[in-house]
Every structure is written in C-alpha cells, then in structure tokens.
C-alpha cells in the first residue's frame, strides 16, 4: 500500500512532463506530421497567416504587407514560379526584364495576401498528409476549415531549394493549378504586349490591391 502513492507520484510526474511536452511543441492548429521539413514550411506559413488575420485591423494594410512579405519569400519560390508562368519567352528576355517580372509578381502576390487576409472568423488550417514524389518533390495536403465546418482542400507542390523547401505550385480542390492559371494569363499578355506589358500589368494590379480598390 505504501508503494502506491510513490508510483502515483511518479506517474503524475510523467504525465505532467508529457503534457508540458505536448503543450510546448504542439502547433496551434493541430499539426502532427512530425518533422517533415516541407510540412513544417507550410505550418510556418499557416501560423503567420493566422497571426496576421488575428491582428489584421491593428496592422492595417501596410502592416500586413510588411509582416507577410518575408514569410511569403521563405515559403514560395516565386522566381521559379515567374519563370514557368512566363514559359517559352523567358529565355529570350534580358536579365533586367526577368528581374522586373519576378519583382512585380512577388509584390503583387504579397499585396494580394495583405489585401485579403484582413480579418479572422475562426478559421482553422490543417495539414493532413505529406507525400514524397518520385522526382524528390513533396506534396503537402492541407485543408482549411471554416467556422461553419465547411472545408476547402489545398495541396502544395514543394521543392527543395538549397536547404529550404519551397512552394512551386498550389492546387485548389486538387484540380486547379495556380501556376497553370498564371501561365495562361501571363501568356495572353505576353502575346499581345510583350514583357513590358506584363510587368506593367503586374505593377498596376499590385498598385490597385495596395490602394484597396
């Protein structure tokens, strides 16, 4: 009988330690994929988005832009996405033209995030699964759960860039490719107006987003 309290105290200590470990290391939205670096990248992106959404009003548009810009730069390989969205014409462009397109696309993308993530209504981001691809890429499958329980699937195609894993394409509902859509509209503008028109369109759209119109 005297040993029981000792065991109980030991068990209690272990339980407390485990609880602390769970508390300290469990991500805010229940991510439990372990240490997969590609999934961790998405996890970091979602954490930053949630944080921004919760502080949206205090931050304002400029604050959200400044907060999200470095996060998006870490999460997305926007240079590669720009290159692939441009397609065939890329190799014919000068280095300054290429850089202008990447910069304008990056700014517009960040402005879109800053403009849209302007509040929080109880949404949850969930990372469901990570799948290795034969070519070394990874697919990170996630979903967003609305406060009313409706969900939307988002799959990320991730590629290792140096030491980091970065997003190179996103599939909405597993079917609609961001990159394919961007490539369609980039191609249309390049065909009608060339690279300068593309840069101008990206800059103009970024301006409008940042103006709140």
């Amino acid at each position: 009988m005297t040993a029981l309290p000792v065991i109980s105290r030991r068990g209690a200590c272990i339980a407390v330690a485990l609880a602390l470990a769970v508390f300290l290391f469990m991500p805010v939205h229940g991510y439990s994929e372990g240490a997969d670096p590609a999934a961790l990248r998405i996890n970091s992106l979602y954490d930053a988005l949630l944080d921004t959404m919760k502080q949206a009003k205090q931050l304002g548009l400029k604050g959200r832009y400044d907060k999200l810009a470095p996060v998006l730069a870490k999460s997305y390989d926007l240079a590669s996405m720009s290159r692939i969205a441009v397609g065939q014409s890329w190799s014919t462009l000068s280095a300054p033209q290429q850089l202008s397109i990447v910069n304008a696309f990056t700014r517009m993308t960040t402005a879109t995030y800053a403009s849209r993530f302007d509040g929080f209504s109880g949404e949850q981001f969930e990372i469901l699964q990570t799948a290795d691809q034969p070519n070394g890429d990874k697919i990170v499958k996630t979903r967003i759960v609305q406060s009313n329980g409706k969900t939307v699937a988002l799959n990320y195609l991730m590629r290792k860039a140096g030491a980091d894993w970065k997003i190179v394409d996103v599939y909405l509902d597993g079917a609609i490719s961001e990159l394919a859509s961007r490539r369609a509209e980039f191609g249309a503008i390049l065909k009608s107006g060339g690279p300068d028109a593309l840069v101008q369109s990206l800059v103009s759209r970024g301006d409008k987003l940042l103006a709140g119109s």
Binding site: K62, P70, Y76, G87, N103, R107, S115, P134, D169, A184
Partner: protein, 324 residues
C-alpha cells in the same frame, strides 16, 4: 466545393492561388496608401544571377500560354465577356451581395440543396449513359435520402451519410462517348462554357420540358449542368459564385485568360473522372489520369495525386520536372 465557398473560402482560395483565386474580403482594407507600399521589399526581391533567373532550358520548347485552351473564337469571346462583365458589375454582383447579406447561410444552403436535388435524376441518367454504375447508385441513393430525410431536398443529409454529389451531365456523356475537343465559348449573360457542354445543357433543358412540366425541375437541371460546366449561369449559382468571381477578377491581370484556365481545369477534372470510371473507357484510362491526345508526362503522373491533365498543367509539370 469551391463553387459554394463563402467569404473564408475566398481567403482559402487566396492562399491556394497565391494571387488570384483568392478570398472574399468581407470588409475593405483599413489603410489605403499605395505610395507607402510601392517599393519592393528587399526580403522578397531575388538577386540577379540567382539560379532561378538563369536562362532555363526546361521551358524552351513550351508554346505560348494563350494557345493551350482551344479558343478559336477568342476575339468574339472576349467581346461577349466584356459585355457580360459590365452586366455582372452593374447588376449581378450587387444583387449577389444583397442576397448574401440578407439571407442567412442555412437558407442559402437549402436553396442550393433543393435545386441540386431536383437535378439528381438527370445526373443519374447521365451516369447510366456513361456506364458509371457506382456513381449512378450513389446518385440514386442521394436522391432517395435527400427527398425523404432531407425534407424534399432542402437539406443535403446524404453527404453526411457518405453519399457525396456525383458529376453527370450530357456534356460529360458526350465527352465519354468520344466528343473530346470542343472550342471554348462565352455565351451572352450565361458566361463561359464550350460548344459540347452548351449542346448538352440545351438538350437536357429541352428534354425536361415534356417530361417534367415543372419549371423548377427544368431550371434545376440547367443549373446543375451549367455549374458543372463551370459557368455562372443560373440565379442560384451566380449568386453563390459572385463573390469568388469578384475576388478572382481583383487579383488577376487578364481576367478573361485566368477564368478560361480555371474553368477549363475544373471541367477537365470532371471529364477525367468520368473517363476513368466509365464502363466504356475505364479499361483504357483507369489510373492513368491521362486523357486522349495528352503528352506523355502528365501533371498527375508527375505528382501522383488526382490532378487532371489539362494542357497547361502538363506544360507546367514538364517545366517543373525539367527545371530540377
């Protein structure tokens, strides 16, 4: 799923499509100071000479993006599209916003479920015509379940009983039967579709006239088909999609091209699903995720996820694969 998305789903879309398929902001931004944001953030500006900016070889052989969806009528389509957009901005979007603000979400869901339930018999018929027997059985179960326990279709209780909505329309049936390539088309008022799906929708609408004699059933059938076709045709779908359309437009640099790509990808997913599960074609296409006339390396085969191969997606996949 995305068709019915509401404001937060818009935000989700914003993540998914990074800059385009994005959110529906309920309120406008509180700061409007573009001059403060005009400069590029150093954190996101790549350096010249960086690997990704080097002249690539992986995209050297890719055709122009604008040529990847069959759109021989582009000039006329763009003209019609512009007129449709003017109508959308003047009438449809304000009405949709008022509808969303005035009608509680459960009621909107019931309106949508009711229309969808009335269209289920047509879905069932097409699933049978496509020899997609499992889809047909699921649809029959949905209709029975929702028409009874769902109070005449006002509630989609079947989805919660593992009976999800199935695709099935005459345009899809024609595709399975061999009518594969069809030009992109913008129909006045109705919006984007293609010749094959427009034929299918029209035939189905006419077919319901003598059979049903009930206007809601005819409308519902049309609603379903046009929704499947990715259009924003009906009062129901139009109201439900308007916020997404607005958001997509706000973050697009060529909305016509962007919407054409999104509609095509969405529709291709449904067509590919039909090919892979149809008794007519499953032997050839099951598991391949690759339709006729597609390139040897599809997005689906590259990603090993159920992604349908549109030409654009294949080219992107090839570029990604070659860029390693």
């Amino acid at each position: 799923m995305s068709v019915q998305a509401l404001s937060i789903v818009g935000r989700v879309a914003s993540i998914a499509l990074a800059a385009a398929l994005s959110a529906c902001a309920a309120t406008g931004p509180s700061v409007r100071s573009p001059e403060l944001l005009a400069s590029h953030s150093p954190a996101v500006v790549p350096q010249a000479g960086q690997g990704a900016l080097d002249a690539p070889t992986d995209v050297a052989g890719l055709p122009d993006g604008s040529a990847e969806v069959a759109d021989p009528l582009e000039k006329m389509n763009r003209s019609v599209f512009e007129r449709n957009q003017r109508i959308n901005h003047a009438l449809v979007y304000p009405v949709a916003n008022a509808y969303r603000n005035a009608v509680p979400e459960p009621v909107r869901d019931s309106v949508e479920a009711f229309a969808g339930n009335l269209a289920e018999p047509m879905v069932f018929a097409n699933d049978v015509l496509q020899l997609r027997l499992q889809a047909a059985a699921t649809t029959a179960g949905r209709f029975a379940f929702n028409s009874t326990f769902g109070v005449a279709g006002l509630f989609d209780v079947a989805s919660r009983r593992n009976l999800p909505h199935q695709s099935g329309d005459l345009g899809q049936t024609l595709y399975v039967w061999g009518m594969r390539n069809s030009p992109y088309l913008i129909v006045p008022i109705i919006g984007p579709t293609n010749v094959r799906d427009l034929i299918g929708t029209t035939v189905e609408f006419v077919a319901t006239l003598p059979a049903g004699g009930v206007l809601p059933a005819q409308i519902a059938a049309t609603v379903n088909n046009l929704t499947v076709a990715g259009t924003v045709a009906s009062p129901f779908t139009k109201l439900g999609q308007a916020d997404q359309m607005q958001t997509l437009e706000e973050s697009s640099i060529d909305f016509y091209a962007m919407l054409r790509s999104v509609v095509h990808q969405k529709r291709q997913a449904e067509l590919q699903e039909a090919l892979e599960t149809s008794g007519w074609t499953a032997g050839r296409y099951a598991g391949s995720s690759e339709g006729p006339g597609t390139a040897s390396v599809s997005t689906a085969s590259l990603l090993h996820v159920p992604v349908p191969p549109t030409k654009e997606q294949e080219l992107v996949a090839n570029a990604l694969q070659g860029g390693q």
